[in-house]
Amino acid sequence: MSISLRPGGRARRSAFGRARGREPDRSRPRSGVGARWILRRIALGVVVVWGCSVLIFFALHALPSDPAQAILGKQATPQALAHLRSFLGLDRPVISQYLSWLGNLLQGHLGRSYATQQPVTVELMPALEDSLCLLAATAAISIPLAILLGALTALRRDGVLDRGSLFVSLLLTAVPEFVIGIVLVIVFATVVWRVLPAVALLPAHADPFSHPRQLALPVLTLVLAVVPYLYRLVRGTMIDVLESEYVTMARLKGLSEWTVVMRHALPNALIPVTQASAIIMSYLLGGIVVVEYVFGYPGIGTLLTQAISSRDIPTIEVVSIVLTAGVVLFNLTADVLTVLLTPKLRTGGQA
């Protein structure tokens, strides 16, 4: 603990000086949100991505591993190794390697894969498309499902559906995604029934949506991993809203239950859900790495695990940065959506 004690005079005035009173929330705009606040968040996001690029690059280049050795194998002669190192620029100082790499990256040159000798984009783009299809399908199923389930369980609180869903969600949030995936393989692809393929091998350059049977199990795994979190959030906010005064007011006016729920309760309960959905998407970016591996789905996660096992540093770098940028982007979307949807924040706390 490196805490230095402040002079006693201040301590006597109040225990924790500035800590008293309201904590200024730095993540939210203070007065009137506008383009300026959003721009600040974008700038912060760029800084985070840049920080991660530094971290990834120096981790990959400073750590004791020799890509030249990995490419040429153990039998390579020292001359061949030295030649390859100078060809790849590995003999230059790390800083200069980083600067030229960053410069190329900003100009759109992502480098060449050590494994295939082709530009990284050749493998990256189709993998990215496939992964985005997976994410889009997961979001398109899980968000409406979570809203429906959350609203129903909040309306019939402590009913059979509510208790059952809570129990199942406790089980599903506990087990890791790959276990959910394997259990689905056991149930739907091998032991119990054989109705769906256990591996999602898509033909090259195929549109994943035209192979729904291949997409089914990976999407179902991700849906089962995500819906428990999302639906409980909807349920929680929906319960709060249903107990609020304006819903009581709407009921006292004699509005039908349907109107009360659809017009007054649900729209307000969904504000935190938009934010949570964006956060869930960023969580899924980590989740797809394992789930794609389970099903052999040719997405960006499989690209990453393959690149890691073949020590293909340019590919690892680019994929990691794409994933980081995705997380930052989704979190940014979450913040912006929250501000745009909350009147109190939009007007800087005056509403």
Partner: protein, 294 residues
């Protein structure tokens, strides 16, 4: 009259409200969770003593179904599934406990220091943790593990560091609220040093939410560590653990489902047990559902 007035404070003291842990224990899910988790821990610790065969001994052809010699059949090399399963829990469990203890312990310290200092140090700690938070964490773990070789201590360290941002954020939030209360002020007025205030007055008030954190992170540690080992970045053959077993035996699923089911059941039981404990404690504190995103 005066004697009665004197006994009042004594009696209220004796009928003190039960602590949050006691309330949590009354909930069925806490008891069930504790039972399941302890059962799995016992299985992992005592397993090697109960195993009918050695974990590296070949007892039959690969993927043969259950028989008298191998109650759950054999795995991809022809080893007894029951013995390998009983042997494969220790590494996963100690790594999960070590990573969680490391992450939660250091996270609490960072969060309290940040909330306490409320100056440049606070900003520095929290912004650095934000960067870590923005990273799809499994990518970072994979990166380091693949480059430095799969080393159990390294995995523990990386997984522990992964929990820092969340724990520090929670701790900081609660600490900021607790230090505005009157008893903290009172302690400061009678001249107790701030460091002592933090440890003696503030920390006890954080204990219940942090227990929830601990149980949740333990669940997630089990998930992350077993996923790493499933991907082949954890223990290396011929050693085996529950995560690696699932991956190695996937091809024989149709011939002998037990070689995948046994490790899956073990991982799921432990994770569900700790998750039930977390749920029981958090409900007894908040009275409502917790909504914590990973």
């Amino acid at each position: 009259m005066s004697a009665g007035a004197l006994t009042v404070p004594l009696r209220t003291r004796a009928r003190r409200q039960p602590g949050p842990l006691r309330v949590a224990w009354r909930r069925p899910q806490t008891k069930t969770g504790a039972l399941i988790a302890l059962l799995t821990i016992a299985l992992a610790l005592l397993g090697p003593l109960l195993a009918p065969h050695s974990a590296t001994q070949f007892v039959g052809p690969p993927f043969s179904p259950a028989s008298a010699g191998a109650p759950l059949g054999t795995d991809y090399l022809g080893r007894d599934v029951l013995s390998v399963t009983l042997d494969g829990g220790r590494s996963l469990l100690w790594m999960a406990f070590a990573a969680t203890t490391l992450g939660v312990g250091v996270g609490i310290a960072l969060g309290m220091i940040a909330a306490y200092s409320r100056n440049l140090l606070d900003d520095l700690i929290m912004r650095l943790l934000d960067v870590l938070y923005a990273f799809p964490y499994i990518v970072l773990v994979l990166l380091f593990v693949s480059l430095l070789g799969s080393n159990q201590a390294l995995i523990v360290l990386l997984v522990g560091v992964g929990w820092l941002p969340g724990v520090a954020r929670t701790t900081r939030g609660i600490t900021l609220e607790v230090i505005t209360r009157d008893f903290v002020n009172a302690a400061a007025i009678i001249g107790i040093p701030r460091r002592t205030i933090l440890v003696r007055e503030v920390l006890p008030n954080l204990s219940t939410p942090l227990m929830v954190e601990y149980a949740l992170r333990l669940t997630w540690s089990v998930g992350l560590i077993s996923a790493l080992s499933f991907l082949g970045f954890g223990v290396q053959p011929p050693a085996s653990d529950w995560g690696l077993m699932i991956n190695q035996n996937r091809d024989g699923l149709a011939a002998n489902p037990w070689c995948v089911l046994a490790p899956i059941i073990c991982i799921a039981l432990f994770a569900i047990g700790t998750n039930l404990i977390a749920d029981g404690i958090s409900r007894s504190v908040a009275g409502i559902d917790r909504e914590i995103l990973p």
